[in-house]
Symmetry: D2
């Protein structure tokens, strides 16, 4: 198995119309982390003015899957995603850092932390995990 590179991960992300529409970028892709970032726009909010939790779910799903790709190779399927909200997300940017929690040759469990950057300060707003498997 060849581990995908940051450039290859960028190309995958570019090939996702939903991610380009939202403006997601991948800023790190190493053994330690897949880091995805997103500039917050006014149309990302919910009824109380916070960033919509569903957008955090999208970002978690994507980051967890990229992290699994570092572990298992490019041909993977994510079978499940869990996200726990800790604090309302607000600010100008979201950062999702994902990494492996444990893996076998065929499956990986990955973890994600989502932070919001507000007025230049970063704080943790959600944590989660995912399960992915090699495509058979």
């Amino acid at each position: 198995m060849t581990k995908p590179t940051l450039d290859q991960a960028r190309a995958v992300l570019q090939a996702q119309p939903f991610s380009t529409m939202l403006g997601t970028v991948i800023t790190e892709y190493s053994d330690d982390a897949a880091t995805l970032e997103l500039e917050v726009r006014p149309d990302f909010l919910q009824q109380h003015g916070y960033i919509h939790g569903g957008l955090l779910c999208y970002l978690a799903d994507n980051a967890l899957t990229f992290a699994a790709g570092r572990v298992l190779g490019r041909e993977i399927l994510t079978s499940g995603v869990t996200l726990n909200y800790l604090r309302p997300a607000q600010g100008e940017r979201l950062i999702a850092r994902a990494a492996a929690q444990g893996a076998t040759a065929k499956t990986a469990v990955t973890l994600v932390e989502i932070s919001a950057v507000k007025d230049g300060s970063e704080y943790l707003c959600a944590v989660g995990s995912g399960t992915s498997a090699k495509r058979v």
Copy 2:
């Protein structure tokens, strides 16, 4: 506690810029289900031409939270969301049906089923659950 009505749920959804940007509508809101629907657009897809899993996560999060609102009243916070993918989602429409699995006076666990409608036929593509609590 007064249970929110379908009209009130519509107003909440209208007040979510992220949901109006995506075009989510709520089509049922009763004791049995909160049903959210979404017309699929080309910019909702991922790199293989399927609907992005992260969009399903968004829809699950939203449907689970509306279902919890029927159980606990309008002032709630969702603390966690899980989604399990069963089949790639494709087609012209997504339907998310959420309902309570179990609840106390303060917390609710809700379930969601997400179906895709392709060429007029509906098939199940993801199932999940969420936990919500009354805001204190």
Copy 3:
């Protein structure tokens, strides 16, 4: 695939030393539910006198896996289990009812509800879900 019968499920449970040590029995095994039950003993409790949550986890894991066996056949592996606690469990008996939430030919997501019977009355104390796959 031949669906396992109640007698076959009983034989599997009998072949689990951990389940016979705890006294778990299977009382229903149909398309609608796998129902496992357990008489509560003093050595099942935790420090506040309630039934230990970990025992509920064991029972959930087992019931979810039996339910998946009805869907996918006998040769399965459970890959993940989630349990949400709603109320402290106390009383003389635990009942876990599991059923399918959604499935493909190879994988199943199952749901479980765990009730406690106290002074003859049953109440819901935990709900959860699991993911299982056919052994390849």
Copy 4:
């Protein structure tokens, strides 16, 4: 809030009849980890001769809750537990290491890794997470 000590954690574990019946001990209790261990007995197995997954669930639940106690103080309730199985567990001992993934003043998400020790060698067999809250 005063963080509970290893001695206090030992006393809590001793006060759990289910844990003393199974023989669970706590071997580390610091900011970095709550570590629980268990000698495997023949009556801990399932029908294929592996350690019963439900026992791993019990151990995960307990370790996750002790870890949350380091973060939030002694008066906590665990609301949910998830465990993902990576490999069949066998051998002479189980070790569960739990630590915080993220927390607020009132809630904590904790992670757990469960390893089995077989013929003196340790290998990872399950990973999971839990959510706990301060008792109100």
